[in-house]
């Protein structure tokens, strides 16, 4: 009796006797291992993508650095690879990248943090759940649209404040980039603050704190590593953003720290070269990979820091 019932369950088909069950199970096992293999390959393909990225950047950059000395690359203050007197100093592109990034962060970090504190500590659940998706739409807008907005709306507006400023400038590009990044800062910081246990908030309110005091003295410090991870991620976004600066910041490499001037960034330079007719394999072609490698190293280290920070805050409490 007991024996019979076991066989029925095992094969899941009442008509099959144990003798027939063996091949069925064997077929199933083969099928399972094939499927497992296929799914594993799909997951592993992401490793191939990374290998492809790193490999391509390295191979093309290596040929570049066979012609250009590393010292010149890092110390020359001019970037004019396509001129008759070429200079290959990455500094002007890095300065352009850093200035636009700083402007963007100066906009997005205060705004994003204030919004995060508001959503997490002030707003009711209903408001939070309505406002967050609306805010996240900001990061869904195509960046070329933001570029248009920066060049044709924000830049004329800024020219009223800085009359000498030209149409193309890093300030307008940076401001619009900052607005684009607000949802990243806001959303991720809010997640980090939500993860702070209610018991800590209750402890603070029970001492007679206001919402702001609870937010600034207890919640914010407790969520600090998560919030800084959000900041670093925003930084990484700003460094890698392309179309806004390509449209609105101007395309001339320009070693300056003044945001009202036009300048090219690492990303904008890549776009500029790609739009032109630089022959495959030429030194001009290789420069965009050298710029790309610089960009990749920067964002990769920011992402590592952010990853490490997030891992740290998961262990807290």
């Amino acid at each position: 009796m007991q024996f019979e019932s076991t066989t029925t369950l095992e094969t899941a088909e009442p008509m099959v006797t144990p003798l027939h069950a063996a091949p069925l199970l064997r077929r199933k096992r083969t099928k399972e291992s094939i499927i497992t293999m296929v799914l594993f390959l799909a997951a592993f393909s992401s490793v191939l993508v990374t290998a492809g990225i790193v490999g391509t950047l390295l191979v093309e950059s290596l040929t570049f650095f066979q012609h250009i000395r590393l010292v010149d690359f890092f110390t020359d203050t001019q970037w004019t690879p396509l001129f008759s007197d070429p200079h290959y100093g990455i500094l002007p592109l890095v300065s352009g990248t850093l200035v636009t990034t700083c402007v963007a962060l100066a906009v997005s970090i205060p705004m994003g943090t204030a919004i995060a504190i508001f959503l997490s500590e002030y707003a009711s659940k209903k408001w939070r759940e309505t406002l967050k998706p609306i805010l996240e739409l900001l990061s869904a807008v195509p960046t070329v649209v933001y570029g248009y907005f920066a060049l044709l709306f924000v830049s004329p507006l800024m020219q009223k404040i800085f009359p000498e400023m030209g149409m193309f400038n890093m300030l307008s590009a940076g401001i619009v980039m900052g607005i684009m990044i607000v949802p990243y800062v806001g959303s991720l910081s809010e997640d980090a603050m939500r993860a702070v246990p209610i018991s800590l908030r209750e402890g603070s309110y029970a001492m007679g704190s206001t919402r702001l005091q609870t937010a600034l003295r207890v919640v914010f410090p407790s969520a600090l590593s998560g919030i800084s991870a959000a900041y670093v991620l925003a930084l990484s976004r700003a460094v890698g953003e392309t179309m806004i600066v390509a449209v609105a910041a101007g395309m001339q490499p320009n070693l300056t720290w003044n945001p009202t001037e036009p300048a090219s960034t690492l990303t904008a330079y890549i776009v500029q070269v790609s739009l032109g007719d630089v022959p495959h394999g030429s030194i001009g072609y290789q420069t965009i990979f050298a710029a790309g490698l610089t960009l990749f190293v920067m964002t990769f280290s920011f992402n590592l820091v952010s990853f490490w920070l997030r891992r740290r805050y998961r262990q807290a409490y």
Binding site: T36, S46, M111, Y122, L138, L212, V247, F296
Partner: protein
């Protein structure tokens, strides 16, 4: 933080109850001023963000409205701004998206399934997970450089629809994988155990239960991934998308044998955001109107896709019964 003034006397026990209470109330009042002020500032920040979104759309609509006519969708780009249209651009976006979806969605879902349902806890899995997290943070233009080196030159795909579709598929891969994993994670383990207890294999549990129950979340993530891909410009410029295309890709069906043609994946292409970029970067004001009109359509498409995603999420969430 420490900007709260301290007007109220502290050592309350030394005072009369009335004095103590009025001091306490003054202290609360001054603290509440900051509390309220911050609320106002934060609401302003929220308003600025939302107004930027609305302003962006209205600004584009005002500038571009006179261009948005049927001919705009049915004309090729032209040197004459009044005749220029987005026919090749939207068709290009469509076919590129088709390739992206065809490659990126199955690959992403399969990878997500593996990591959530199959992967053993070991170094290889851990490495893949960290790798995906890192990929999500790689700037899109770097994907473009990889595609330029690998797809365009190494694999000889050329500056084609195929190269573009593959690039965007890889770019959206982390989004699809993450969405798949998050959707799968909401399924209670009891569901799986019930199926295993009846003798189901892992793939049977996955295909009969895990996948159907998490479809809502996966769909949401997929739509968001595609909405991001459709607005991507930089990586496609990098692989050499042309900005001026006055022809359409080869039709996939023909009246002659073999009736089906895949020639279109090798065709040169442009996409809507590149077309818009091209118009924005021209100095003539008339072209900027074309850019605005293209921008309205782009924004409408991405916002609509995101709206669909939000709706899908709400719909599937309200249906869940466990």
């Amino acid at each position: 933080m420490s900007n709260v003034p301290s007007p109220a006397p502290l050592n309350a026990s030394a005072l009369t109850p009335e004095g103590m209470l009025s001091g306490m109330r003054a202290n609360i009042r001054s603290r509440k001023v900051f509390d309220g002020l911050f609320g106002v500032v934060a609401i302003l920040a929220l308003l600025v963000s939302i107004l930027a979104l609305v302003g962006l759309f209205v600004n584009l609509a005002l500038q571009g409205s006179e261009r948005i006519r049927p001919e705009f969708f049915l004309s090729f780009p032209s040197r004459n701004p009044f005749e220029a249209g987005i026919l090749s651009a939207w068709v290009g976006s469509l076919v590129v998206m088709f390739v992206t979806a065809l490659v990126g969605i199955p690959l992403g879902i399969a990878a997500g399934l593996y990591l959530e349902e199959y992967a053993p806890k070991n170094t290889v899995t851990n490495f893949i997970e960290i790798n995906i997290m890192n990929l999500a943070g790689v700037p899109s233009i770097v994907y473009g450089l990889m595609a330029l080196g690998l797809f365009v030159y190494k694999f000889q795909f050329g500056q084609s629809v195929l190269s573009a579709g593959l690039t965007l598929a890889l770019l959206t891969l982390p989004i699809v994988i993450t969405a798949t994993r998050e959707a799968i994670r909401t399924i209670p383990n009891a569901m799986r155990e019930a199926a295993y207890a009846l003798g189901a294999t892992r793939w049977e549990v996955t295909s009969h239960h895990v996948l159907p129950y998490s479809m809502g979340g996966i769909l949401t993530g997929t739509v968001i991934a595609l909405s991001r891909a459709i607005g991507e410009t930089a990586p496609l410029i990098t692989i050499g998308a042309l900005t001026f295309i006055a022809f359409l890709p080869t039709p996939p069906v023909s009246t002659e044998a073999p009736y089906l043609s895949f020639q279109w994946i090798w065709d040169a292409f442009t996409v809507l955001p590149i077309q818009m970029f091209n118009w924005v970067s021209r100095p003539q004001e008339e072209f900027q109107k074309n850019a605005a009109a293209a921008g309205v359509i782009l924004m409408f498409m991405t916002l609509a896709m995101n709206g669909v995603a939000i709706w899908l999420r709400a719909r599937y969430r309200s249906r869940v019964k466990w």
